[in-house]
């Protein structure tokens, strides 16, 4: 494809007033137009938005889904991350490469096809998966020559259906079937401080991984004095093994929009952003349609429902960078920069997006908000346990009979959850489970009795993370899975701080040696020193947890790491 400067000028027009903050959407649009971001195209974008050339190049270079060399007309992205790797993803990648006679990451000479290995695509329950441009291919079976196409199916189960009440149906909810924002209308009759108090009293804590009390976060932003405040929905879901937000966003989008509206009212925000990961293109039209519906019905815009609240929501699409799920890197990305996490403090509640007070919440956290308002705190707290009220979404994948999204009240044991999903696939014995995500820890089979609450999991040394439960049966070579984890973090480190920038690389190299059976004397000690250095000294949560799973594997399965341990 060739770029037509006149046409591109018109395409870039809407982003010009945004300045640097319009850089990611402008680059997405330019790439769609020209096929890839060549030097002339990047120059035109830089000039239009008045961003220095070197900075534009720096941004293109940071994001995996921006290309500054020719890209195939068709792009095949094969997920080769942990869950898909268990189901033969490497073979699928090899198949596509052989078909097109290229190596992973290359484009055919006629520029027809590019084949890439992709980090987790967020469809682990349907593994193995791939994306052909924006089309999804799931449950790929090379031998039988079969697969499923179209949007990823939602498989929803569990023992309670509150957050997932509208999920797993034929189509996404419409505003009327959703219930016309009953909770928000209730909130409009309350004082903003009472809304904050209600969320505090509910005991809701964030579901994005850091488990921070939502009410306290909102309180901080509500009390901060500023001319402008923001509410940001973190829909960057990229933690390997996680797909809960994809299902919530696609099946019940209005619950998220309503959650954002309630947050905006409570803290006094006038602008909202949904930061959607670039690998979920099929979620975008659903969100766009839902936002239009909300605008038509007078739930977004000026003086909403005749109140003093003025609030609207903009969607921002990521471009292939796990780190942009870290809240401050996410702000940088919306501001049109490389996704480098910021030093904290200051915290987002006072210095967030564009330096203004900002509430940033995970999709699942926001979905809890209308539920709490509708049920009332007292009823909500009857679900779950005293210290961990409510229900929780778990993403089950790997060697489990019925992989999918499961909603259970806090307090259910790991074993009970596993039973709901039919236990280990094929009746095999359980070796271990990766709990919490790539940044999680390995659980032993004798931990099946652990109750899944924040307090019990902490005691057991298992991070809840983003609710991942990835099952490994007795036959699995964990060393291979650890090597996949190592590759993920090395690929996704932003490179800002030394411990993680170099530590994720050294960790990957050692894990590769271990997986290949070429262990060098001292590798175990090296792995531990690198791991603890990243954990103790990294700037952000990525580096601080990049070796959590590895260190837990060293503790639980030391025999994997010694010479000739094969």
């Amino acid at each position: 494809m060739e770029s037509d400067p006149e046409a591109l000028k018109e395409i870039l027009e809407p982003y010009v007033p945004l300045g640097q903050s319009g850089l990611l959407p402008a680059l997405h649009a330019a790439q769609k137009h020209a096929g890839w971001l060549s030097q002339p195209v990047a120059t035109q974008v830089a000039n239009a938005l008045k961003v220095p050339l070197a900075d534009v190049h720096g941004v293109i270079e940071f994001y995996s889904m921006f290309y500054n060399e020719p890209l195939g007309k068709k792009v095949i992205r094969v997920c080769t991350d942990v869950a898909c790797a268990l189901k033969g993803a490497d073979e699928i990648l090899k198949y596509h490469c052989e078909q097109h006679k290229i190596q992973p990451g290359q484009t055919t000479p006629d520029l027809a096809t590019t084949v890439e290995a992709s980090p987790c695509l967020g469809m682990c329950e349907l593994a193995p998966v791939a994306m052909l441009d924006e089309e999804v291919e799931t449950n790929i079976n090379l031998d039988a020559g079969t697969s499923e196409k179209g949007g990823p199916r939602s498989i929803v189960g569990g023992s309670i259906r509150l957050l997932t009440a509208n999920c797993g149906k034929e189509e996404p909810t419409f505003i009327t079937s959703y219930g016309s924002y009953r909770a928000f209308k209730k909130v409009l009759l309350m004082k903003p401080t009472d809304v904050v108090d209600e969320i505090k009293a509910s005991g809701l804590v964030g579901r994005g991984g850091a488990a921070f009390p939502t009410g306290i976060k909102w309180d901080g932003a509500a009390k901060a004095d500023a001319d402008k405040k923001y509410v940001v929905c973190n829909a960057d879901e990229s933690e390997p093994g996680t797909f809960k937000d994809r299902i919530l966003l696609r099946d019940d989008p209005h619950s998220i929009i309503e959650g954002m509206l309630i947050a905006a009212f409570a803290v006094g925000a006038s602008k909202g952003y949904i930061y959607l990961r670039g690998e979920y293109p099929y979620v975008l039209p659903v969100l766009e349609r839902s936002l239009s519906e909300a605008r038509e019905k007078g739930f977004l815009g000026e003086n909403i429902q005749n109140s003093s609240l003025t609030f609207d929501i903009e969607i921002r699409v990521g471009a292939g960078a796990y780190i942009c799920g870290e809240e401050t890197a996410l702000f940088e990305s919306i501001e049109g920069k490389r996704g480098f996490p910021r030093v904290k403090p200051p915290f987002p509640t006072t210095h967030g997006l564009f330096g203004k007070p900002t509430v940033v919440n995970n999709v699942e956290t926001l979905a809890n908000v209308p539920l709490i308002i509708n049920m009332g705190t007292e009823e909500f707290r009857k679900i779950g346990t005293e210290k961990s009220p409510g229900s929780k979404l778990f993403c089950l994948s790997g060697d489990v009979e019925k992989p999918g999204l499961y909603e259970v009240p806090f307090g259910v044991t790991i074993g009970e959850l596993l039973d709901m999903a039919g236990g280990v696939a094929g009746g095999k014995a359980l070796q271990t489970m990766l709990f919490g995500g790539a940044a999680g820890a390995f659980a032993r089979p004798d931990q099946l009795d652990v109750k899944m609450t924040f307090e019990d999991l902490r005691t057991a040394g298992l991070p809840l993370g983003s609710g991942v439960l990835m099952v490994f049966d007795e036959s699995r070579d964990l060393r291979k899975s650890l090597a996949h984890l190592g590759k993920f973090f090395a690929h996704e480190s932003c490179g800002k701080c030394y411990p993680c920038q170099m530590g994720t690389q050294r960790q990957m190299e050692i894990l590769n040696r271990i997986a290949a059976g070429d262990i060098l004397p001292g590798d175990l000690e090296r792995l531990e020193d690198v791991g603890w250095t990243m954990t103790d000294s990294s700037l952000c949560g990525l580096g601080q947890t990049a070796s959590t799973a590895v260190l837990s594997a060293i503790k639980e399965f030391p025999e994997l790491f010694v010479e000739n341990g094969k």
Partner: protein, 235 residues
Amino acid sequence: MTTTDEITLDIDGKSVTVPAGTTLLEAAKQIGEDTPTICFHEATTANAICRICVVEVEGQRVLQPACIVEAVADMQVQTRSEKVIRSRKSILEMLASSVDLSEAPEIQTLMDDYDASAERFPDAQRRNIEIKDDNPMYIRDYDKCVLCWRCVQVCADDAQFTYAINFSGRGYETEIGTFFDQTIPASSCVFCGQCVAVCPTGALKPKREMFIQQGISPEDITVMSSGRKKRKKRT
């Protein structure tokens, strides 16, 4: 300074009183504790990226970078705990396995201080970046670059507002670079020399100095090809 503006804290078991807003780096100096730094520079915005200055602060889950963390009343700080030493040593060892530190005497001294071995990581993939010689003023030898960010910052908002250089790649493959790797003369560089002045490792060097040092003529210096590499490719 009134007494209300003063803070007393504990560093390595010694009581220290400093003005509010003092960093732990400065506060530690008062008891004669010289905390190592790499990325920190008086003239540039501190980003706390090298983490060699980390110290242990009671009640904090992770180690804290002394170059930016401010002293708080009654803080209990340890500058040489076991954790601190392990981090500093490992960071130095990883650095030595990644880049050429031959012209970074301060970092070499730190390696000795912390008993860090340059051979700790056998088979480590080094960065191995070719010399870029494309302008009459300075050489860019990024094989010696420790990614301290100083040059990018002085070129941008910390001093010159010229924005000639930025980053390419991501993670371990991050490099300092120009727009599409164009040459320095083709970029917006105004040859102010500030980047060269703040570079701690000889990655950016005035040409004359380099020729004299190596005893070679300008013609002998490899002219770097413009072979652009896409860095964070998904392979």
